[in-house]
Symmetry: D2
C-alpha cells in the first residue's frame, strides 16, 4: 500500500447503470500502468451514490480483474459505524484486501467518539488493514493527529489517506508517525497537484483521482519521488498540475465540486476512448458541449501516454 | 401536518438493539398527549445509525401503533438520491403517510443539484407529501428560499422543517410562502426554545426533540400560540426552555452534540419511567452518574404532566 | 437605552468626505421621529473606514445636534484593546453618553481573553455605560453568554447589541439576564426583520440600520411591541421587512454585503431627499442605475411617513 | 525580497511599553544571522495592538538599525483602505522600503472590492513595493489567484506573503506566476514547518515567526533549498519543526492562538537572553511557570546557534 493507489472511478452507462465491463477494462489499464493498488468506492467513485448491491458488484469485479496482481482496497464510507460495518461485511465477502473509512458525518460527534468509531470498524474485520480517510470537505471534522497515532499503536489503523489540503497537517502527521517509530504506518496524500511536496513531507504514496486519466504519469512521478529526485519530480508534477485544470472548467455555481471534478475525469476518459459515457449519477449537472471541448483540448495538450 | 410533530426517539435495549415494544408505548404516550403527527427516522431518532431493516421495523411498528389516529411521517435521510429512494420505497411499503429528506451531504453539490435531488425523490413517491429538512449543522448547506418556493409551486415539496437556527431565515421563508400565496405549504420549526418566536415568524408547527420528554407541554404551547396568545405562550415556553438545559449537561468536548442532546432526552425518559434504557448507538459517549443526576433534577423541577 | 437606537449612517459628499451638515440634519430627522438614542460609529456608519479625526467630528456634531434630547452612544470599534481605548478617550472628550465595543478581531483570541478585553475597555471610562456588540459576521467569534452575565454582574457591561442572527442565542441571552436578576441589563437586537420575534424573546430594543430610512416605522413598531401587541407588531414588521428587500438588490458577487446593504440605505435616503449623495467609502462598489431604480421603487411602495 | 524575511517581534517592557532598545538589539541579531530583509508590524509583531505612534517608532528604530544593510518592510495592516493609507504615509515618512497589506477585514467585501483595495493602497505610495498578505485565519477571505496575477501585471502588487495553510493554493499561486511570466513577482510562505515543501512549490522565500528565535537555522535552510538540496533541507526543516512545538505548549482554550504562538517565541527569546521580558499586550493570557519550563526545555534541545 505504497506508491500510486488510484481511486477508481465508477463508469456508468448512458442509462445511469454501473458499467462493470468498462470498470474491468479500466482496472486493467491502471494495473498495466503499474499502479501499486486499486482503491474502489472512494469519493471519486461516487461511492455515496451507490447501493449496497452496486458496491458489492464493483468490489467483486475489481478483485477478479486484479487477480492478485495488486491489492484491492475498498471504501466502506457511510455516516456511522453500524452502516459502515455492513459495508465491511460486504467487502470481506467480496474479497477486498483492505478498507478505507471516514470519520462519522451528518452527526455531531466528538474526537473521542471518532476514535471509537474506528475501533468499532476495525473490530468488524481485524484481519484487513484499515485506513482512515481525512476528508474535512466532506465530513467537516479533521482527524486529530494524536488520536491517529494512538489508533496506529493499537493496531486499529494501518494508515491514513489525507485529503485535508493543509501542508502543515500532512507534515505534522508524517513527523508524528516517524517520532512514534511507526515505520509500517502508511500516509497517502489525496492531492493531485502537490505530490512532490507531499513526498517531501514524508508521505508513502498518493491516491490521485487524476490518476484515472493519466496513470502512467502518476506512476512515473511516484517512482521519481521515491528515488529522491525532487527536481525531476517537480517537472513531472507541473505537467500533471496543468492537466488537473480540467477540474476547473465546469461552470460554478451551476455545477457543484463533484460534478466539475469527477465529471471532468469522465469527460477525459471518454475523449481518450476508455469510457463509453461521461454520465455521473443524478442529480450531478452535466457539462455543456463547449466545456467538454475545453476539457478535451487540455487533455490533448497533456500528451498522455498509454500503458 | 401542523401543530406538534415530535421527532420520535429510537429506544434501544441495553444490548443496543432497537426496542420496538418501548417504541410502541412511547408512540402511544405521544398520541395520547395530543400530538398532530409522528415523525420517525429523523436526526433525533439516530436515523443515520440505523440499517434498512431497522428503519423498516420502526416505520411498521409506529404506523401500526398510530392506527390512523395521527399520520406517521418517515425520514428518508441519506447522502444521495439513489439511496434516499431506497428508503422511500421502504417507507411507502411500510405505510408511511409522508416523507422528510435533507439536501445531499458528504458530496460537494450546487443549489441547482440540490433542487433536482428533491425532484428525484418526489418522483419516486409522488403520492406522498415530501418535506425538505433544512439542517445546515448536519448537511453543511442551507436550503435556498427561492428554490424552496419553486419546488413548492411545482408540487415537489409540501413543506419545510427548518432547523437552521436563524431567525431571519425562518421569517423570510414564511414571508416568501405568504407572498407566493402557498397557503398549504407547511413550515415547521425544529427549535425547542423559540417556538413562540417562530409562530410569530409564521410557522405552522414545531418538531421538538424535547417533545419526546414533555409532549403535553408542547401540545399546550402550540395550541396557545395558534390561538394568538403570545404572552401566555412566552410563559409556557420559558418552562420548556428551562427543561431544555438538560441538553447542556453533557461534558464537552468528551461528548459530541448528539450524545449530549438526544442522550439527555433518553436519560429523562428513563427517569420518567418510559424508557428501560438510556442506551444510544455506539460510539456515542455515555453520561456519568453525576451528569445523570443533574439531568434528573432538572426534569423533576419541570413538573412534567403525563397525558 | 431602550427602544429604537438607530445606527446612524455616515453621509459622504460626492468627493468622499464626511458630510457633517447632512449628518446633523439626519440626526435631527431621527430625533424628531422619536428614537430613544443615537448610535454613531457602528458598522452601518462605515466606522472601520473612518480616521480618528472623522470619528471625533462625527461624535461632536451628533452630540451638539442631540443637545441632550437623546443620548448619543459611540462605537469604539477596533481590533484590540489599546486602540479601542484611544477611541474611548476621544468619545469621552467629545461628549458621548455610552460606548459600544466588539470582541477583538483579526487576532486569534480565547474566551477568557475576550472577557478581559471588555474589562480593559470599561476601566478606561468607568463612568460611561459599555455595550458589547455581538457580531460574528465581522469578528468571527460569538460572545459567550455566561461570560456576558459575569461581566454584567461585575458592572463592566451595561448591555449587549446582538447581531448574531440566531434566534436561540437571543432567547438564551434574555433568559440568562432574567435568571440573573439583571433587570437593568439591556439587550438590543440588530435585526431589522425580526423585531417582533426578538421582543418576544425578551429584548429591550432594536438597533435597526433600516431605521435610518424609516425611523417613524421603527419607533411605532417598538412602541407597539413594548405594549405587548404582537399581532399588530407583526403587521408593522411585515411592511418594514418588505422595505428591507432593498438590501438584496445589489449584484452579488460583484458587490459585497456592506456595499449592497448600507449602500441601499444611502440610495433610499437620497431618493427621499435627505442625503445629497449615495457615496460610500472606497472601494465599495456602486450600484448600477437599474439597481437604483429598483431600490427607489421599493422605497416608494413602502409609503414611508416623515416625522 | 527573497530568502528569509522574519516578521520581527515587538519586545515589550514589563510595564507593557514597546521596548525600542531591545528591538534594535533583536534586529541586529537577525541581520547578523544573514536574513534578507526585516518585516516589522506583521501579525507576529502584535501590529493590530499598536497605536500609530508605536508603529512609527518601530519602523524608525528598525530602519536606523538596519542602516541600509537589509531592506525594512513595514506592515500597514488595518481593516480598510483609508486607515491603511494613514499607515502607508507613516511608513513612507519613517523610511520603510516596502509595504505589506492584507485584504479588508471586519467588513463584508467582494473580490472586486478587495482588488480595488490594493489599488488604492498602491496609489498612495507607488514608489514602494507592495506585498499582499494572504491570511484567511485573520481576515476570513482568501486572495483570489487570478486577481493577484492581474494586480501583479498592473504593477500594483510586487508579491504575496502566503499564510493560507493550503499546499495546493501555494502551488497554484506559484504556477500562475510562472505561467504569467512574472519572474520578478515574489511569493513568500508564512509557514515555519513546510519551508522545504513550499520551496518545492516554487516560493522565493519565507517569513518565519520562529525565525525570531532561530534566525541562523532559517537562513541556512533557505540557502540549502535555494540551492536545490531538498534532502538536506528536509533534515534541517525537521529540527526547526521540532522547535516549533513550543507554539503548542500553551493551554487551550484558556490561551488563544496568538498568546500561545507569539507568546512562546517571546518565552524562548527571554530564555536565550535576548528579551528582558516575555510580556505581550493585554489581554493576552500569560503562560504558567510549568509551561515556560516546557518551552525552555524544547528550546534547549534545539541547540540553536547564535549568529
Amino acid at each position: 500500500m505504497r506508491g500510486v493507489v488510484p481511486p477508481v472511478l465508477t463508469p456508468l452507462t448512458e442509462a445511469g447503470e454501473v458499467d462493470l465491463e468498462t470498470l474491468r477494462a479500466h482496472a486493467e489499464r491502471l494495473i498495466k500502468a503499474g499502479v501499486d493498488a486499486l482503491f474502489v468506492l472512494g469519493s471519486s467513485s461516487e461511492a455515496v451514490f451507490l447501493t449496497r448491491e452496486n458496491r458489492r458488484a464493483i468490489i467483486t469485479a475489481t478483485v477478479e480483474q486484479a487477480a492478485g496482481r495488486v491489492p484491492v482496497i475498498a471504501g466502506v464510507i457511510d455516516a456511522t459505524a453500524p452502516r459502515v460495518i455492513e459495508h465491511v461485511a460486504d467487502a470481506v465477502e467480496c474479497g477486498a484486501n483492505g478498507l478505507v473509512a471516514t470519520a462519522p458525518y451528518y452527526v455531531r460527534i466528538s474526537g473521542t467518539e471518532i476514535a471509537n468509531h474506528f475501533r468499532l470498524i476495525h473490530a468488524a474485520a481485524p484481519e484487513l488493514p484499515l485506513f482512515a480517510y481525512n476528508i474535512p470537505v466532506s465530513v467537516h471534522t479533521v482527524l486529530d493527529i494524536a488520536d491517529v497515532i494512538t489508533l496506529a499503536r493499537e493496531g486499529v489503523l494501518a494508515g491514513v489517506k489525507d485529503s485535508g489540503g493543509s501542508d502543515s497537517y500532512t507534515r505534522n502527521l508524517c513527523d508524528a508517525r516517524d517520532k512514534a517509530g511507526l515505520s509500517d504506518f502508511v500516509v497517502l496524500t489525496g492531492s493531485e497537484t502537490t505530490v512532490d511536496m507531499d513526498y517531501l513531507a514524508g508521505v508513502d504514496g498518493v491516491v490521485p483521482g487524476l490518476g484515472n486519466v493519466d496513470p502512467v504519469g502518476y506512476v512515473e512521478l511516484a517512482r521519481t519521488l521515491a528515488a529522491g529526485d525532487f527536481a525531476e519530480g517537480k517537472k513531472q508534477q507541473a505537467r500533471l498540475t496543468e492537466l488537473m485544470t480540467i477540474t476547473a472548467v465546469g461552470d460554478a455555481p451551476r455545477m457543484g465540486g463533484s460534478a466539475a471534478g469527477v465529471g471532468s475525469f469522465k469527460v477525459a476518459l471518454k475523449h481518450l476512448g476508455h469510457f463509453p459515457s461521461l454520465k455521473m449519477f443524478d442529480p450531478h449537472e452535466p457539462f455543456t458541449d463547449e466545456e467538454i471541448e475545453k476539457i478535451n483540448a487540455i487533455v490533448d495538450a497533456a500528451q498522455i501516454r498509454e500503458p
